[in-house]
Amino acid sequence: MKKYPQNEKRKEAGAPVEKRNVERPIVREERVFSASVTVMVIAVILVFNVMFYILASLFRLYFSPTKDDPQTLTGSTDAIFAEAIAKKRTVKIYFCNDEETVSAHDTGSLVYETAQLYKERYPEFIDIEYINIITKRDSKGNRFPLSNYTENDEVILKSSVIFECVESGEYKVVTDAYTSAGYADFYSLDSNGYILSYDGEEFFATMISWVLAEEHKKAYFTTTHSEQVDSSFVKLLMAAGYESDMISLRDSAVPDDADLLVISNPRSDFEISIDGSGVAVATSEIGRLEAYLKRGGNLYVSLDPYVKKLYSLETFLEGYGIGLSETEIDGKIYRDIVRDGANAITTNGYTIVTEHADGTIATQISENMDKYSDNDVIIREAGALTLSGTAQALLTSSRSASCENAGIVTKTGGSFPVAAYNTVTSADGKETGNIFVVSSIYMTVSDALVTNGYSNKDFIYSLIEYLYGAENMPYGCQSVLYDSSVLENLTMSTANLYTAIVLAVPTTIAILGAVVVIRRKNR
């Protein structure tokens, strides 16, 4: 022990010895040692982490268990091609690039895979060839007559795909089947131009059916009323076997070859001139519509319930028993917009899951759709329809729906028709046509059609088959959805139920906890 001089003097004087903290240096040393060990341990761990980080980057020490699901064919096309296979027809698919390039292309690879799947499924019916459009030779070195496929001024690029029926020589060029800069017919895009889905199975079926068909139906879209035509609807009509074109009824009557006339979301009214007897003049737009229907034409109309009243067109449709419902409140007229909180897929209640109406055609469509899909058809911001005479509903809202506009409830009671049809018999009684009206512009937009959970596409195909008499619809073809995180078939009422269940757990724990703590306190 260290001697302190003061202590020695105190001892001599007989005074108590002052104790000093003689252990201070030892404790200080221990602390320094302890701190050094701590710093060293932390430093070692840090250095180990840095080295591991570098090694992990160099040797890719991570794994990614995500993988894309491989494409498959649903088999929906077996029925469509059965007749052609029985007749031993063959279809050739020409890719205008070599196989290695096509299979490695970022968007072309899916098209390549689909072609391979079709060839595997129908080996006697489908054949694939790869063409070099520069040398105009196929993969075996044989000369390829490229000029035979540009008779109608088709443009053929390295990213094009040509479909041809060998027996008839009928061909179809898909000019820009896939590129990395733009996307074409094999894909569906949303309104912002982003890819929604890859629709290879359906588009291949469309093209193969197209070249096998002996004739194609014609659909005309009206113009000059700011009509909004969704490209996915045009593509759908093509899959149903229709060639599309535009027509201005101000300039000409509906052509004789028109199998279907489409009035798609007009924003301005149709012209009408009334003669002395109160009948629309034949050269006015409404007059031309009348004439078309009287000769047994088919009409597809989609209306925007938020657009101001199109008097001439709506009066024309009301003449066939279908009109847009309105309610007068305090001297103001409100369109009845259907809202269904329980059966909506959005929180505002305006994107609703519809129900199939009763009625012969509605039941046929519903039963047909049952074979291929879940049967649910969604529709957004639909107006309620009023029906009279022989007009019948095809789709309605559920019984829990109401009608609202600008926050005002205009109607209650549910079961509002949102899609309806009427049959029109020609003047000589020999031809019948059909008018179909849907009171929403969103039934055939890309995100309503491109979905594996809802059946809007199959509904339209069924409509075309049962109402307009077309055949060989590509039902049930699955799309490869790019944004497959969308929840489908979930209504707000189900979401509310799940939320209640999830929140019931902490509620139960709170009650149990309160009981336990109170009992302990009172013990």
Binding site: V50, Y53, L61, G453, P506, L512, V516, V517
Partner: protein, 235 residues
């Protein structure tokens, strides 16, 4: 260690704090899950787990704030330190108790996500990755909470201190993103950032280096807690 673990678990389920944490955490996580998936019509769970990362940083300190600070406040610290159990055993026992509750809540929330399989193609690999990341981040947050709790006898101070350190760690990634990508210092910040490493897992990538990092940070704070108590035992 087992005795300490059992004691801590008993104290969580016989006192208010355990139930408050469970109710608050499960209610918040349930509400966030429903809002980000069911009401957004999306089966993408990455936004849910990212929000829960931030919420965990605020709610987890409730669980850890009383671990050591209460012992000091009610003067039971001496009993603990003189008990025939090592400091490491004490720290690990308390850590495991808090972590068991957190992990149980996290696994339950992940099971809720499976309901989305009925309505969409849920990316199970991403869900699994997010769960692993959340459990690893829980290790770090709880270790930080125990460390701060050991420093003070005031529970509120312990909670606030823990939240401050956790938010500091989360902010490291934000600070790093302010630098241009070719600056070396950005790599340093990304290396230290809990949030940046968390994002690898939300993309469905199981990054071994990040797993090592999270465990290392938890070990560092655990070691510091042991050092504090070791020093206190012999003082």
């Amino acid at each position: 260690m087992l005795a300490v673990f059992k004691k801590e678990m008993r104290s969580y389920f016989t006192s208010v704090i355990g139930y408050v944490f469970l109710v608050l955490y499960l209610a918040l996580s349930g509400a966030v899950l429903c809002y980000t998936t069911l009401y957004s019509m999306s089966s993408d769970v990455t936004s849910y787990f990212t929000i829960m990362l931030l919420l965990s940083g605020i709610v987890l300190p409730l669980l850890t704030m009383k671990s050591f600070s209460e012992e000091r406040k009610v003067k039971t610290e001496q009993l603990l330190l003189t008990a025939p159990v090592s400091i490491i055993g004490i720290v690990v026992g308390k850590f495991l108790a808090a972590y068991s509750i957190y992990a149980g809540c996290m696994v339950l929330n992940t099971l809720y996500c499976l309901v989305l399989l009925n309505y969409s193609s849920l990316k199970v690999a991403v869900l699994f990755g997010c769960l692993i990341a959340s459990l690893l981040v829980g290790l770090v947050f709880i270790a930080i909470g125990l460390f701060v709790s050991a420093l003070t006898e005031n529970q509120l101070t312990a909670a606030i201190g823990t939240i401050a350190i956790i938010l500091g760690f989360l902010a490291i990634g934000l600070i790093g993103s302010l630098f241009p990508s070719d600056y070396a210092i950005r790599y340093v910040f990304n290396f230290l950032s809990i949030f940046t490493r968390f994002q690898y897992f939300t993309n469905g990538v199981i990054d071994i280096a990040s797993i090592v990092y999270y465990i290392s940070v938890a070990i560092i704070f655990g070691y510091l807690t042991v050092r504090i108590y070791d020093r206190r035992r012999y003082n």
